[in-house]
Amino acid sequence: MARMKFLCDADRCIECNACVTACKNEHEVPWGINRRRVVTLNDGLPGERSVSMACMHCTDAPCASVCPVDCFYTTDDAVVLHNKDTCIGCGYCSYACPFGAPQYPQTANFGTRGKMDKCTYCSGGPEPDMSQAEYVKYGSNRLAEGKLPLCAEMCSTKALLAGDGDIIADIYRERVVTRGYGSGAWGWRTAYGETVAV
């Protein structure tokens, strides 16, 4: 089985935000929820870089460890998913996540934030694959259709890579060797305890 990962090549990302838009459109994500976002570092300075970030589907995910109702599970593809029927919207996963992935339909007060929503790596939730119930709660299930996450698939500069961790690490390593520089596999050290050594 593949160990699915995201890798954003910050030296290629042009901050077009198409990954963000594609994600919102593919999954009909409601207003205010951003499963993916693009963060620009050193904005306006020499060496500026943009990184597209979403749930990194961590190894030993901290969100899953703090969840008081244990609603998270890891699929055979090592994708971290959660069950919205069990989720109580307590917000602990958002405290624990190093990547700011968990989102809530309301940023409202008084504990009425609603069920948590996050990147599903385009692979839905616990409902039957590609069912309507799954689509309403989690969005489309592209993995079940044999496709990779849309954000990475339609990235115009191929900055955002999705797929088996070893394969995308090889692609990134080859790029770095060819062009002579690379700003690193953002988030890999925090999510998987390893990084792409070049």
Binding site: Y95, G182, S183
Partner: protein
């Protein structure tokens, strides 16, 4: 005219030089994750930038520290909560085996004296009932997955915990009102004084039969519970309100801090309250009446709150002296 042309030439040279300098090497000074992590040691916001969405918290790209909160939450907080609750129950069980039920040495007199009026008892039981539900629903968030989840299964446990969260959020408010009421009603009798020193020296007479150090309306042990409830309750209320209004509280780092303080105070206060419940019910004969009917046996009162009984007697004799017409 000549000056102007010289100026134009100078300007053209400047622009050319500027363009030459603008040919920067893309790798030079490029931001790498490595360098960002190095900077994290001094600046916790080092791996943050700019986003084009309104949520400014989204500008934080990576917050590795969040993982340490997660580890603390499932490690230390869980362990301390279990130790606090199970440890206190164990200690009380040992105490019960060693000391047994504390009896009224001089036996029940059958005469009653009013200790707590209706308003006192109303405030106490509002605080007590809300606290018990808050403590249980809170404890469920900490250890529910390992204790109750295997019994109920994911769906039922999720539904139960969801209800628990709603109860926790809404019962917090009557808890806070009752806490304020308790403070106003009882603070005057809970200010520490010299009598408490003597009471503490004799260990409150808890460990020996027939030892009854003098005490006013509240003895030193009760004062400790009072201040633990007031200070702990205030801490729980403040951090709890912050957790209910995350927008007011700030960002993830603040929520983590408030959650940690909230959980640790709750563990400590739960242990204290378990001891309080014990001594007010099975642990001591005649004690429950104070909060039950509000009237306690005079002999119980004399043994445990001797100075208070004398005060009450002096008051009532003064009252009756006033009401008795002079002959």
């Amino acid at each position: 005219m000549r000056y102007l042309s010289q100026f134009m030439i100078a300007l053209a040279v400047l622009v050319f030089v500027g363009q030459a300098n603008a040919q920067v090497n893309p790798t030079e000074r490029a931001v790498t994750e490595e360098s960002m992590f190095e900077a994290l040691g001094t600046d916790t916001n080092a791996v943050a930038g700019r986003v084009s969405i309104p949520d400014s918290n989204a500008a934080n790209l990576i917050k590795p520290d969040n993982k340490s909160w997660a580890a603390f939450q499932v490690g230390t907080v869980q362990t301390l909560s279990v130790i606090a609750v199970v440890g206190m129950v164990g200690l009380l069980a040992l105490f019960y085996m060693f000391r047994g039920r504390i009896k009224v040495d001089s036996g029940m007199s059958g005469l009653k004296i009013l200790r707590f009026g209706a308003i006192d008892r109303f405030a106490h039981w509002t605080l007590a009932s809300t606290f018990i539900i808050l403590a249980l629903t809170g404890l469920n968030l900490i250890i529910g997955t390992s204790v109750i989840l295997p019994l109920l299964g994911e769906n039922a446990f999720g539904a139960l915990t969801s209800l628990g969260k709603i109860a926790h959020n809404y019962l917090a408010w009557p808890f806070m009102v009752a806490l304020a009421l308790i403070f106003v009603l009882w603070v005057i009798d809970n200010i520490p004084d010299k009598v408490d020193v003597e009471w503490l020296k004799q260990g409150g007479g808890i460990f020996k039969k027939g030892v009854h150090p003098p005490a006013k309306k509240f003895n030193a042990g009760q004062k400790v519970i009072f201040w633990a409830v007031i200070i702990g309750g205030a801490g729980l209320s403040f951090t709890g309100v912050m957790l209910l209004f995350p927008g007011v509280a700030g960002a993830a780092a603040d929520w983590q801090l408030y959650q940690t303080i909230h959980a640790l105070i709750a563990a400590g206060l739960s242990a204290i309250i378990i001891a309080h419940i014990y001594i007010g019910s099975v642990g001591m004969e005649g004690a429950f009446d104070a909060m039950g009917s509000g009237e306690v046996d005079v002999n119980w009162a004399k043994e445990h709150h001797g100075l208070w009984v004398e005060q009450e007697k002096a008051k009532s004799s003064k009252d009756s002296a006033l009401s008795t017409p002079a002959e």
